[in-house]
Amino acid sequence: MKFEKKRATTKQEIPTASMPDIVFMLLLFFMVSTTLREVDVMVQFKLPEAKAIEKIENKRLISYIWVGHDGRIQLNDNIVKVKDIKDIMYKKRVALPNVIVSLRIDKDSDMGIVTDIQQELRKADCRRINYSARLKE
C-alpha cells in the first residue's frame, strides 16, 4: 500500500507582485520630500552650536557660503576670494530677489573674515543672512 504524505496542495509563496508598487511609493515619497544635493562641499568646517535657532522653511531660497577652518571661502562650486563675492551674489540676487544667504562658517574662524563677507553681501544687497548653527543639547 502506498502512503501519501499529507501535504497541503497550495503553493508556498510570498506574493511579490505588489513589491514594486510599494517600493515606487517609497521612492516617490523621497523624491517629493527632499531636494537634490547641488554642490560638493570642498572646505572642512565645524558649525558652532546655539540654542535660540530657527529653521529656514523655504530651502529653495537659500544660497550657501562656506568658510573652512583654513579660511577658504566656497561659493557655489568654487573656492572664491572675498572680493569676488559681491559680483556673484549680485547676480544671484537679481535672479532670486529674496535670497537668504546661509553662512556656514567654521567655529574657529576669526570675525575678520566674517565681517569682510558681510560687507561684500551688503554691497551686493543680499541682506538676509543666516548664521548656520547646530542645536546645542
Binding site: 535657532i53 567655529k107 574662524s109 543672512i129 548664521y131 548656520s132
Partner: protein, 179 residues
C-alpha cells in the same frame, strides 16, 4: 485528413520579478543624492550698504542702546560693564520688557561689535544669548496676552507681537583698517 492542431498559446507575461530590484536601486540613488537635513541657524538682516563717505552719525539715546562689545581675548562688555556671556540674556530681558509699551522709535537696539581677531564661535554664543532674550520676552508676552505659544499665533497676533517686541540687532559698521 490530418487535423491541424492549433498551437496552444501560452499566456504572455513580462517578467516582473526584477522590477522590485530596479525600483530599489532607484530608491537607493535618491537616498544617497538628496539631503534631508533642515538648515538651522540664527537669522539676521544686514543694514543697507552706505559708502564710508556718505555715512552720517545718527545720535541714539543711551537708554535705547545696548552696546555689546567682544574683544579678541573673549571679554564681553555690555554698556561698558564687563559681563560673562551667559549673563547677557538676563540683562537684556529686563531692558526689553521695560520697552514693550514704548512707541516704535524707542525700542531697544542691540548693537554687536567685535574685533577682527575675535573668535566666531564667541560671537555666535553672544548673538545666541541676545536672540534667546528676545524669544523669552516674546514667549511671555504671547502667553500673557493671547494665552498661546508663539508658534500657534494667528497672523494678526504675530504682527502685534512683532510690533511690540521687534528684534533689532545692529551689526556695527567695521572700522576702517589702515593698511
Amino acid at each position: 485528413m490530418v487535423k491541424i492542431k492549433k498551437r496552444k498559446l501560452s499566456a504572455a507575461e513580462i517578467p516582473t520579478s526584477s522590477m522590485a530590484d530596479i525600483a530599489f536601486l532607484l530608491l537607493l540613488f535618491f537616498l544617497v543624492a538628496t539631503t534631508i537635513d533642515v538648515d538651522t541657524g540664527i537669522g539676521l538682516t544686514l543694514p543697507e550698504y552706505v559708502p564710508p563717505e556718505q555715512q552720517t552719525f545718527a545720535p541714539i539715546s543711551k537708554d535705547r542702546m545696548a552696546a555689546l562689545l567682544i574683544n579678541k581675548n573673549g571679554d564681553v562688555l555690555l554698556n561698558k560693564k564687563q559681563i560673562a556671556i551667559p549673563q547677557i540674556k538676563e540683562n537684556l530681558i529686563a531692558r526689553i520688557k521695560s520697552k514693550i509699551d514704548l512707541p516704535k522709535n524707542k525700542k531697544l537696539i542691540v548693537s554687536v561689535k567685535t574685533d577682527r581677531e575675535t573668535n566666531y564661535n564667541l560671537y555666535i554664543q553672544a548673538l545666541d544669548q541676545v536672540k534667546a532674550a528676545y524669544f523669552e520676552v516674546r514667549k511671555e508676552y504671547a502667553e500673557s496676552h493671547f494665552g498661546k505659544k508663539v508658534s500657534d499665533l494667528t497672523k494678526e497676533e504675530m504682527k502685534e507681537l512683532r510690533d511690540k517686541i521687534p528684534i533689532i540687532i545692529s551689526i556695527a559698521e567695521p572700522e576702517v583698517v589702515k593698511k
